[in-house]
């Protein structure tokens, strides 16, 4: 029997080529991504009393804590902005990045049961996590805008400007960095479980290395390059500048962050792609 290769729908080989990322296949599973997002959204707050209100309580409590501790007790500068808005903007942005990273970094470990039984492009899971978190982010961001409006009415000195137009790109970059680091770490955790602890710890440290609770301008000139080596710094600063009017905006820094994101994303995708084929034998 002669059957030519063109007729086969699927060819299973030991190893894929390094750059064969199956992105087209990912697209064909977009329904699954949507359903995962919806599942996460629906199931998280089932059997809770406050339900979706938690989306608002979390940033609110964090912001209040920050305001009390860093603003009133430690008296860190906020570039002349109302402390509450300053910390809230930082919290909302940071939560999106940190949640995306921690949750995607658990992709393999948390889905062993599912991955061990059924095939679908494994990237579906981290990508769906990004979108789930995006929903949370949008809700919290609207919440933030509400407070912003409140402060404007009270005559606070904040000046939203044209940089707001960059918002989608900033979100995209946050998501890309979260995803890139997340899948990179999730691939490595299949072999080294230590990394999971490192992630929890590391993400806290990273928050202090990012101008969340302090403005970049408060860092002395000599060390400012260090803080801007962190690709998240320019994102947070641009965000603050766009919506609140103070912050350190430099297109070059943004380009650097974008490049950084591309590299991490690419590296993550390649390693993830490698690991997803045989990780069932390792975990």
């Amino acid at each position: 029997m002669t059957v030519n290769d063109q007729q086969w729908d699927l060819i299973i080989l030991p190893k894929r080529r390094l750059l064969d990322l199956h992105l087209k296949e990912l697209w064909s599973y977009r329904d699954l991504i949507l359903l995962f997002v919806w599942r996460d959204f629906v199931s998280v707050y089932k059997q809770t009393i406050l339900g979706p209100l938690w989306y608002l309580i979390q940033p609110l409590l964090t912001t209040i804590t920050f305001t009390v501790i860093f603003g009133n007790i430690a008296r860190l500068p906020t570039d002349g902005l109302p402390q509450f808005l300053f910390y809230m903007s930082g919290t909302v942005i940071w939560t999106y990045f940190a949640d995306s990273l921690t949750k995607t970094s658990n992709t393999f470990i948390q889905n062993i049961g599912l991955f061990g039984k059924v095939y679908f492009p494994r990237l579906v899971v981290p990508v769906s996590i990004l979108f789930s978190n995006l929903i949370t982010f949008v809700i919290q961001f609207i919440f933030f805008l509400g407070f912003m409006g409140f402060f404007v009415l009270r005559g606070s000195n904040i000046s939203p400007n044209i940089w707001i137009a960059l918002t989608p790109i900033l979100i995209l970059m946050l998501a890309g960095l979260g995803l890139g680091f997340g899948i990179l770490i999730s691939s490595l955790t299949t072999k080294y479980r230590d990394l999971r602890f490192l992630v929890q710890f590391g993400i806290q440290l990273l928050m202090y290395a990012t101008p969340i609770i302090y403005p970049a301008s408060s860092v002395s000139e000599r060390y400012r390059f260090l803080i801007f080596a962190n690709p998240l710094t320019s994102l947070v600063e641009t965000f603050r500048f766009a919506y609140l009017g103070t912050g350190d905006v430099n297109p070059l820094h943004l380009v650097y962050s974008f490049g950084f994101m591309l590299v991490v994303l690419f590296l993550g995708a390649v390693i993830f792609n490698r690991v997803e084929q045989t990780f069932m034998d390792t975990v």
């Binding site: 729908d9 080989l13 329904d31 629906v42 199931s43 679908f120």
Partner: protein, 422 residues
């Protein structure tokens, strides 16, 4: 007919034990030692060095090559650990092979374990959509099949109840229903039939039969020879990662059962679960004549059972009997030397007692054998399920036909005639 699955030289290596050492620090130590040409510092003395790996290699599959034609129902049988599941895992792309290649035409759906991805907090309906998507259906497809799925699973009333409130039966039925309605060109099934009640199992078998009749292909892994026999057109015997036989179902099952017995013969002599004063003990049981192997028989064949024994002399006035039971414990046959003839006046202290049957009278299936003996009216040995025998189809009546289970459990030679009444 065209080939829908072509497996070429497929191999899969697993590393027993851990891969790496599990922590980065230890991996570094091993790597550093190797770099300096020193032995692995973490190994115990005398343990073989497999490089960075702490365990040895196991070939779950080795150079497996076969093709499956469209519409075939291929049974895959073999002992535990033979490589069946690995093969299915590679086919369903859960893990990648180490070597070789698989080419597939059409969509593969696997029922490796049903209900994966069900979320306990979501309702039945929500889970149908979710599970359908996980298995590769899009929403429109699920929507069009929802009624059919719900009907099949028989959970219409509970469709909007979270599945964590379902009984395990309902849960499994719904999960199987989703998978079964995927309408794949190739369906891979692994032992799902072990779940659910008898009625549902029949329904599943029926559904698989339907799938096959529609010209689609089924790969079916099971330890249940009855379902394999019922469903499969072809069968493949996998042993130690190699395809031993690929051929007609009956022939392959026969081969499998005859390899199987070599491992399952537990020593009758060593069995502790027996009664009697022990003056005489059965040490071994086998079907010595009229069968392909010591633990199987053929319907209608002239058959001899050999009962090996050992005892303390003198063994006088010995009564020996043998009962054959079906797996649910019902006695189908009972034979004793005193009822069909007479007691043995005296037998040697160790030897073989044989029972002869002209035509083995039980239909194909699995049976258990009980052995019993008395020495001078005192129970000497009594072993329940002393042996298991598999009865293969055979020509009982000498008419070229093989009786089936539907004729009833026991066969008897008989002849028919008629005459006119005036």
């Amino acid at each position: 007919m065209s080939t829908v699955i072509s497996v070429e030289n497929l191999s899969k290596v697993y590393h027993l034990g851990q891969i790496g050492t599990g922590t980065f620090a230890n991996d570094l130590k091993v790597w550093w030692a190797r770099k300096q040409g020193k032995p692995n510092p973490l190994l115990r003395v005398g343990q073989p060095d497999y490089g960075n790996r702490m365990g040895e290699e196991i070939w779950a599959l080795r150079d497996v090559t076969f093709t499956v034609e469209q519409g075939a129902v291929l049974g895959i049988i073999g002992r535990n650990g033979a490589g069946k599941s690995t093969l299915l895992k590679i086919l369903s792309r859960v893990t990648a092979p180490t070597g070789g290649m698989v080419k597939v035409k059409g969509r593969i759906a696997s029922l490796l374990e049903v209900g994966t991805g069900f979320h306990p907090d979501l309702t039945g309906r929500e889970n149908v959509y979710l599970n359908g998507a996980i298995l590769g259906m899009d929403r429109a497809e699920v929507r069009s099949k929802l009624d059919e799925i719900v009907d099949f699973a028989d959970v219409a009333q509970f469709l909007d109840t979270p599945v964590k409130r379902y009984s395990s039966g309902m849960y499994v039925r719904l999960a199987f229903a989703v998978a079964a309605h995927l309408d794949p060109e190739i369906l891979v099934v692994d032992e799902v039939l072990a779940v659910g009640d008898a009625e549902f199992q029949n329904k599943c078998l029926g559904k698989m039969g339907d799938v096959a009749r529609e010209g689609r292909t089924v790969l079916f892994v099971s330890h249940n020879m009855a379902s394999i026999r019922k469903l499969c057109t072809n069968c493949m015997l996998v042993d130690k990662g190699i395809v031993k036989v690929l051929g007609g179902t009956d022939e392959v099952i026969y081969q499998y059962l005859s390899t199987l017995q070599r491992f399952s013969l537990s020593s009758l002599e060593a069995r502790p679960d027996r009664e009697g004063d022990g003056r005489m003990r059965f040490t071994h049981f086998e079907v010595a004549e009229g069968s392909p192997s010591p633990d199987s028989a053929i319907v209608g064949a002239a058959t001899r059972f050999d009962l090996y024994y050992h005892g303390a002399p003198p063994l006088r006035n010995v009564q020996v009997s043998l009962g054959i039971y079906n797996p649910s414990g019902e006695r189908l046959l009972w034979m004793g030397n005193d009822t069909s003839g007479s007691l043995f006046k005296e037998i040697p202290s160790s030897g073989i007692i044989s029972v002869f049957l002209d035509h083995f009278p039980l239909v194909p299936g699995q049976y258990l054998v009980n052995l019993y003996c008395e020495v001078e009216k005192r129970k000497a040995d009594w072993v329940h399920s002393a042996a298991q025998i598999t009865v293969h189809p055979g020509d009982f009546y000498g008419n070229g036909k093989s009786p089936t289970v539907s004729t009833g459990p026991v066969l008897v030679l008989n002849s028919w005639s008629f005459r006119e009444r005036k």
